[in-house]
């Protein structure tokens, strides 16, 4: 009788899982508690410090081992759909519904490119939903200004930001679960 009950329960668990919208995505399950706490802390900072805008914002995580073989997590606040250009099939979410999309990185924290299936791509878009803004298509920015000779001249406008636009923060973990923070400049 016990065996039958176990089998029935197992059937329901499998049936429940198969109804998930994100079967093709890989949900990170085995994060240490200290990492989960760090992630939660960063997410709160994104809200508190206005890295997120209005109700938009997810966190991008690049997970890698540095040259000293320490576990590093590079967290950035993302408010637009830039993930479409480099999608991932891996994510983490906590009980508050906070979304963290995961990438593997090289030892310098550079995001490694990955290939995912169309199904995974569709599921990723569904997972993120309206949590980010849709970026407009890039266009040339021209403005009319006056040159040195007094003539009106069409001039290209270009903004470049050298700094921590996405409020990137690096969490460097020791084996004992303690970590230090290093912010990008």
């Amino acid at each position: 009788m016990k065996k039958i009950i176990v089998l029935i329960l197992a059937f329901f668990v499998i049936a429940y899982d198969s109804q998930s919208q994100f079967n093709s995505l890989l949900k990170v399950q085995n994060l240490p508690q200290s990492v989960k706490m760090a992630f939660s802390e960063y997410f709160s900072e994104c809200i508190r410090e206005r890295y997120f805008h209005e109700d938009k914002g997810i966190v991008e995580v690049i997970s890698y081992k540095d040259s000293l073989l320490k576990d590093n997590y590079l967290l950035s606040a993302v408010i637009d759909d830039r993930f479409l250009e480099n999608p991932t099939n891996t994510y983490y979410t906590n009980d508050n519904g906070e979304i963290f999309i995961f990438y593997d990185g090289d030892k310098n924290g550079n995001k490694l490119k990955q290939t995912i299936s169309l199904t995974s791509f569709d599921e990723l878009k569904k997972l993120i939903g309206d949590r980010v803004y849709i970026r407009p298509q890039k266009t040339e920015r021209l403005i009319e200004l006056i040159d040195i000779n007094g003539n009106i001249k069409k001039t290209k406008v270009k903004y470049l930001i050298a700094g921590n636009t996405w409020n990137t923060t690096r969490y460097i973990f020791s084996d004992d679960g303690k970590y230090i923070i290093s912010k990008s400049l």
Binding site: N110, D147, A162, G163, T168, L185
Partner: protein
């Protein structure tokens, strides 16, 4: 400071002139002694422009830029009675960097005016910060007549004469003295400049003992090198003379002229540009400005190694915002970024620029028009603070680097290091020059 520099300059020019004339005479280069004949700057300018400007080699079609700074000309007493007019020149031939030259005009024995042009070719093995100033000059000093005819030169190390140059090779061009000119010269040799591939061999080892692995390899870069080949032993009696090269390259008016906008060297402010004649001083200025303003500083490095720093109004303690074009409050363009060939739409496009060139155009309010500076690198400063990663580019930095042609380099400068990076991260980290 300006008076002090001019004073040093005058003294340097006098020594330089004296020594050079003496050496040229000792080497029988047919140079003339100076004779006093009440020469003035005005008469020298009038004579030179009437006699040489249309024909002199310094004005040929290969010239991209040539400027005679008559406003900086000075009359120098070179001995008890004789005087010469000395005029700095900035000259740039197509495909070459600009260089500082001196035009000297004096009266010869026949009481006729005569011109000599002095060029300075730096030994490129010198540290980068010594490739522009004339203090403790090392390289070759080339002497030409007013037509640009090669009259010989001197090989100099830290202002000490080491030999006489009788032949000059630069790229495909060879210039040499004729037999009569060489006759009597006690030291012969030639100074050659050209493109060379410089290779460095390296090895990397990992592991210990039997498990160790070593990789070997080499990397080469294209470089422009100048070298000296002596064809005779150097006469001990001749060498060892100390020559004082004029230090005019560091004088403020020349810096201002090079800047195109009348800029002295100095830091940027919220609404004005900073400028340095070379990156060595420029990095120091950037870091001082960063400390003074509690803001990161951004700039661009030109092909001539000048560093132009942009206004800091939009920057903060940890971010630089480049906002091209920079304009005056009334909307006049002061500086703009040109990504691509600036002559693309110009029917006179002569192919001087490539589609992957990047430059900045600076309004020249003194002369009208705009000056285009091709740039080789974008640089921004990082403060060193606890909890911040000052030795690595941010993801946004790497994203910016990806928006430029690959030949444009990207640097971070902090108090300790100069870090080159690209879209993939750090390329090299070296100790900051001129620390």
């Amino acid at each position: 400071m300006k008076k002090l520099r001019l004073h040093n300059l005058r003294r340097g020019i006098i020594y330089s002139f004296f020594t050079t004339i003496l050496i040229l005479n000792s080497c029988n280069f047919n140079s003339e002694l100076i004779d006093s004949n009440d020469i003035t700057i005005e008469s020298a300018q009038q004579w030179f422009e009437n006699s040489y400007s249309k024909n002199a080699r310094i004005n040929n079609d290969e010239d991209v830029r040539k400027e005679y700074f008559w406003n900086l000309a000075s009359k120098q007493k070179v001995n008890k009675t004789d005087e010469a007019i000395i005029i700095p020149i900035i000259h740039q031939r197509k495909g070459e960097n600009w260089s500082l030259k001196h035009l000297w005009i004096y009266n010869n024995k026949k009481k006729e005016k005569e011109a000599r042009i002095f060029e300075y070719i730096y030994d490129t093995k010198l540290p980068k910060d010594r490739l522009q100033g004339l203090k403790n000059f090392t390289g070759a000093m080339i002497i030409r007549d007013g037509e640009g005819e090669f009259l010989g030169g001197l090989k100099i190390t830290n202002n000490k004469i080491e030999g006489v140059i009788t032949e000059l090779k630069s790229g495909k061009r060879t210039e040499k003295l004729n037999t009569n000119q060489i006759k009597g010269g006690r030291v012969g040799g030639f100074f050659s400049c050209g493109n060379f591939e410089r290779c460095n061999y390296w090895s990397i080892s990992a592991g210990v003992g039997a498990n160790s692995v070593t990789w070997f390899g080499y990397s080469c870069i294209a470089d422009w090198l100048c070298y000296w080949i002596s064809t005779n032993g150097i006469d001990p009696a001749f060498t060892g003379n100390i020559i004082n090269i004029p230090t005019i390259a560091a004088s403020t008016p020349i810096n201002a002229a090079l800047g195109g906008g009348g800029w002295p060297e100095g830091p940027p402010t919220s609404t004005s540009f900073g400028y340095a004649e070379n990156t060595c001083r420029g990095y120091n200025i950037m870091l001082s400005a960063q400390a003074a303003q509690s803001k990161e500083i951004g700039g661009a490095i030109t092909t001539e190694d000048r560093l132009i720093m942009f206004p800091t109004q939009a920057n903060d303690q940890h971010n630089v915002n480049f906002t091209f074009p920079y304009t005056t409050p009334d909307g006049n363009i002061t500086i703009s970024l040109v990504n691509g060939n600036p002559d693309e739409a110009d029917p006179r496009n002569d192919g001087k620029f490539q589609p992957d060139d990047v430059g900045i155009e600076i309004a020249d309010r003194a002369k009208g028009g705009a000056i285009y500076y091709k740039i080789t690198a974008i640089v921004h400063s990082h403060p060193i603070e606890n909890g911040y990663d000052h030795n690595n580019p941010s993801p946004a930095d790497k994203n910016n680097a990806s928006q430029f042609p690959s030949k444009i380099k990207h640097y971070i400068v902090n108090n300790d290091n100069l870090i080159e990076y690209n879209a993939n991260g750090v390329v090299t980290t070296v100790n900051r020059p001129c620390k």
